[in-house]
Symmetry: C2
């Protein structure tokens, strides 16, 4: 039904991932349509980006709330969360870049609930002495999450080779000892 619309969204994620400043024209031609068609589906550039962000938030909060329900320790939850978010993180890496800039405020607003869930998880970890307390949970969660995205971004292949490294790195940063971090990661099914 809306296959063109979906293709535009998929392609926009790719194109903006390569260059967050890409214009509607670039997205259109990458999707094999004309610029006017894109405006037919998304009245403005902001609409497109908002739709993309909503998609990301939906996918990510779904994963996070599912993981949350497991009742495991905070560090184990984090490992599971990153493992499941990893394939998605690379696709949506552009959102991190787009948070500073013209649409920053809009994106920030949509990402807000996800940020809170993450901060909660980190806070619980800090309260039970699983995570270190050198930074407040709000900042620590953002930085740790940002590192995962940054590694996803440095990873050319989007393969699972980087997922392990990203998980270990973020765990270390959260204050989990290296031996425990490696044990947790290697426990993944």
């Amino acid at each position: 039904m809306n296959e063109t619309r979906d293709r535009i969204l998929d392609v926009a994620l790719d194109v903006l991932g390569d260059n967050p400043d890409a214009g509607m024209g670039d997205i259109a031609s990458a999707a094999g349509v004309v610029r006017r068609t894109v405006y037919g589906h998304f009245p403005s550039r902001l609409d497109l980006i908002r739709t993309l962000t909503e998609r990301a938030v939906t996918e990510m909060t779904a994963v996070l709330t599912e993981v949350d329900a497991s009742g495991a320790e905070a560090d184990a939850m984090w490992v599971e969360f990153i493992a499941r978010i990893w394939p998605v993180a690379h696709r949506y890496r552009v959102l991190l870049a787009l948070r500073r800039g013209e649409y920053g405020e809009a994106i920030h607003g949509l990402l807000g609930p996800l940020d809170e869930l993450l901060a909660d998880l980190v806070k619980r970890g800090q309260d039970s002495d699983v995570f270190a307390q050198h930074l407040p949970p709000g900042i620590l969660s953002q930085i740790a999450y940002g590192v995962v995205f940054a590694i996803a971004d440095s990873d050319p292949s989007n393969g699972t080779l980087g997922a392990r490294a990203a998980t270990i790195t973020s765990l270390l940063m959260l204050g989990v000892p290296e031996t425990r971090a490696i044990a947790l990661v290697d426990d993944q099914p």
Copy 2:
């Protein structure tokens, strides 16, 4: 003599720090001059940014090579480097944002030598088992350095309160155990 030129450079760092997409007009009025005057000193926007970057690279490589000469262990070197780079990092935080984008290539080229020095330091740390090896030195150094900038960016006051947290966080990420990290940081004169 060149007090206007210097003021423009200083102010540009502030303005671009707040908004990396600020135009020459924004910089000019923030510096209390007219746009035309800015073009009198810097023929193009790229010139301005290049000059800013050269300044940053000069300051930072000076610090890093000085620290390098101490012959200390890699983790101690890192602590000293961050401690001395911290006041500068906040001012030049814009460069991290500017690396992706229009002038990315130019900035990347200028920052190259600094990147290599950092990667060398991390590699030496990995070789002597002071740093973990979950990521190749080139990526690990970038991520660790990025985290320091990111925390500097979250820090509203640019006070030294965040410096401690940033140093600990980057050490943890580099694989230094928490107790050792804290000991190192508290050893700072």
